[in-house]
Symmetry: D3
Subunit: 217 residues, 6 copies
């Protein structure tokens, strides 16, 4: 099961594509990512010769295809960020489609570099985010088709399908590469592991509880 979660997380990671703002501004019309260049790595990605830019560099297809939600959490993310659309490089925005099985969840996570704005395309979702310390106030709501909700940059948030069938949402994120830290995976599934002594103290439980949690990620 740990493998399945890892797999899911891998999709999430390359995917949980939200769009982040506040990135460095573009200094030319566009800077299509040159993913074949291995010569030099930069903040973001190097640019293709602008004369070679074509419509396909700004294009992605398949966002209408349902993701496979047969996994332990019942949620699947299809990312559309600079990895999928090289023309997004330097432009500070990206997308993700999310499919939910009945009662499926997208576990609590943060985007280190993006605010997210989510639109419900099908079904009903219970969503929420938690404010910073010390309040840790939960701001949540049940959403229906056509509803939109905002998750501010860096805050912990989650989604759950609370309707009768499959649900679908589309998220926009204010970064070309927003990143995603799924709490369970980052804390209990880090590789190598965070020591059980630290986690036991942090969560105020026995090390045996920590070990059983770690075994799942």
């Amino acid at each position: 099961m740990a493998n399945q979660i890892l797999l899911l997380t891998t999709f999430l990671a390359m995917t949980c594509a939200l769009v982040i703002a506040f990135e460095p501004s573009p200094l030319q019309d566009f800077c299509v990512a040159d993913t074949t260049s291995s010569v030099t790595r930069v903040n973001g990605l190097p640019c293709l010769d602008s004369k070679l830019a074509q419509a396909d560099h700004f294009f992605f297809s398949g966002l209408h295809i349902p993701g496979n939600t047969s996994n332990p959490v019942g949620g699947k993310v299809t990312p559309v960020n600079v990895v999928q659309i090289p023309g997004l490089n330097t432009l500070g925005i990206s997308l993700a489609r999310i499919d939910y099985a009945q009662w499926g969840v997208i576990p609590p996570h943060t985007h280190p570099r993006a605010t997210e704005i989510l639109t419900v395309l099908e079904g009903s979702l219970y969503v929420g985010f938690v404010t910073s310390n010390p309040d840790n106030k939960l701001i949540s709501k049940v959403l229906y088709k056509g509803d939109v909700f905002v998750f501010p940059v860096g805050l912990v948030h989650f989604q759950q399908n609370v309707g009768k069938g499959h649900a679908v949402s589309l998220s926009s994120l204010s970064s070309q590469n927003p990143g995603v830290n799924t709490i369970a995976n980052a804390v209990f599934g880090a590789n190598p592991s965070i020591s059980d002594d630290i986690l036991a103290k942090s969560f105020q439980v026995d090390k045996t509880v920590i070990s059983s949690l770690q075994a799942k990620f």
Copy 2:
């Protein structure tokens, strides 16, 4: 007809909600726009007391409702930016739903403060953007359901429904308030008018052509 276009443009203006990046970063978890405050205007909008923030400040409903495309261009924009969701203030992202009658168009326009990423929800669209001088290269493509396309910040772009029925798209924009300059309205419908002498020289036509164009906006 000029009135109808003006009306459309009004919707576009408050609407053609794309999301722009590169805005000032937030300096707190969030800064819900206090739209009732008339005391002081700032870059962006003043903030509500954070203790009063509620889920509804981060929420909008109705994005599944088709817009009315009975207007000369056959396109209608439903915006979801900081005007509709006060919680977007300082967060650098927004949305817009666009409905298209058959052969309906969203005329050439620019967003002064945002890159746009468009997803086709229903139907087929012919879309494109034009690069800066001197090349003015048109980068265009026909899109189908589930396709995604990017319009870089500040460049002229347009959409047309080229399928057999109604079409719908959802756009994300890298600004809480991206702005929209519809070319025809800004150039031929400015109020007061740009002088016909300037426009005749700029478009290399007789003033009578300019006058007939201005009469429509």
Copy 3:
């Protein structure tokens, strides 16, 4: 004539050098553009070894030389941006000299990445900019020698010589590479063309009017 305009536009494009702000900040004293490097393209330009930086990298001469305004619009732009001064790379500012024949115009255009501040050096200019939808309010003024005017980032603006002789202005732009979209060229001179059906709907005119406009750019 289309060629002449194209030529003019080429100058404009490399030129209509205004200065844009809000660019990524420098991370060292300077980063002189290494225009000979073809190894890697980045957002902006790669840097020369700082030890090789010389005064000439921060220098341009000839801004006192009148531009040749013998072209259909009677306006000529001489740009001074990162192309002409490699030391401007990462520094977020540039210049342009503009010469105007009698009644000469700089046609309506936008800078996708810069605010412009214009100073009249000689003669009299009628200038203006148009606000975003839905107001499309024209804010304009006749300027005389020593007058200064501001065009906010991304908004449509224009200039015309309304004095008795030649006129000259100097513009500063808040970007090392502000870009310029001349409306007429981007809309009617795109290559390949934007379809006449889209343009006819957008400007509410017959396709024959569109064709005659396209023939000029």
Copy 4:
């Protein structure tokens, strides 16, 4: 015990003062926060009349005083951000002193708006951060007096005193108000609670385990 943690978290929240970068730039020499002004809230804080600025607005004392680590996790944060030093407003940097009892920990947390750079003043610390999905790679090290370590913006990180006595570190953060999300508190101590069904699915455990975790925060 939940109360004690809450208390600790409160200190953390107002405290875990790291310094974040990438904030809006200052537009004047300084903008001392006017904390007495309740008239208008802005992104950041309104400014005091600059003529009233005094040395004490840029000053804080007491960072040499040990914090009280008598709490369940054995760690205590003393923050020095814009709340303590109003002159930090608009300037994008802050500090925090952290005291650690023997084996005391600062539980896994993120700063939504800041990178942190930590210096060990006394004792030995085991510290680490976890990369985004899908790798969730733990990058960790044991630090001694005079050692420095970096936690990149938005990533999950933690510290533990692994030496023989008390330990002390000083952190700098790239924001005037970096914020802190302590994972345990945000996830298991949110107010109101995140539903146990969501958490059980997310952490792949029985609801009884979730309930016992929630009881502690």
Copy 5:
């Protein structure tokens, strides 16, 4: 003479208007500074109701009028920044005209928030800037009419009229409020004074030399 210098510096200060980039981006078409508002101070300036914006808010006249160079250094700065043009608020650019008597100088100074790009309108100037420690390399050049030179943000720079008559230059700066620190005034003319012990050590001279320097500012 100290008074004369102080006076000059006052002009410089409100003036030595260069334009700086990297300021917070605008979140609306424009935000004309509301200089009559004393209710709330913000980073930058509060905005006038956008409906009240007029052409004069984006306008300044008189930049063709020579400044009075009858002062000890023989240089006079006429600033055109957000103080003179309220429409520059949030737009990140400004100007300054500088007049030079024969052999007149603009003493070594820095702009804390702007890069400067200078154009010689009349005469000949010797200009230069000094790189950061440890190199302190002087990059300098003699400029003639029509020449342009760049001073990177934050670096010490200066100008001197080395031609036969009066000289004039126009500077653009990448900030709406770039600020200016004239070295001699900041170091030897601070109010109250920096202690002569500190300055004697810093400049490796007797306190008597420091006292005589301080007497002049």
Copy 6:
């Protein structure tokens, strides 16, 4: 003695490591500087392959070791910026330890790209900064162990040990590479020299005074 100062300044330069904010945001979890890459120079530094990133890339040791203050000014800076910690690349923060002999000073200087926040670890310091023209107001204070003080970005500031023994402070700076312009060295020690005629006019003294000052740097 000039050599000794030069040497000190060299340390200062590579060191006087403060942390500056307002830098371009990271577009990935981290971008460890690849200091061995000589292929391409960029704004900041190119990135190492992220798979090769190790704890040591985010680490520095030795900040507890006193610097050698046996030099003319009696102050020594130990920098910890992107040169010492490659993992700081793109993250906008850095540190510096400063040691002071009795009555030792850190001469007046500016950081072109950073705000500094200083903490006194041992001893007593007299510190201050000077506001921009025209006020040149000195804002200063005597600090004791545990006191913290802020120097806003780009302003002239200084420190002096006014206690009975050695003093130590730790500074945080809002840039990965803040830069430092020591006034005395930039003005009187530039290489090649700024002409004595310019300096004599600027400081209102005889050229002989200037020559004697230049001889020391």
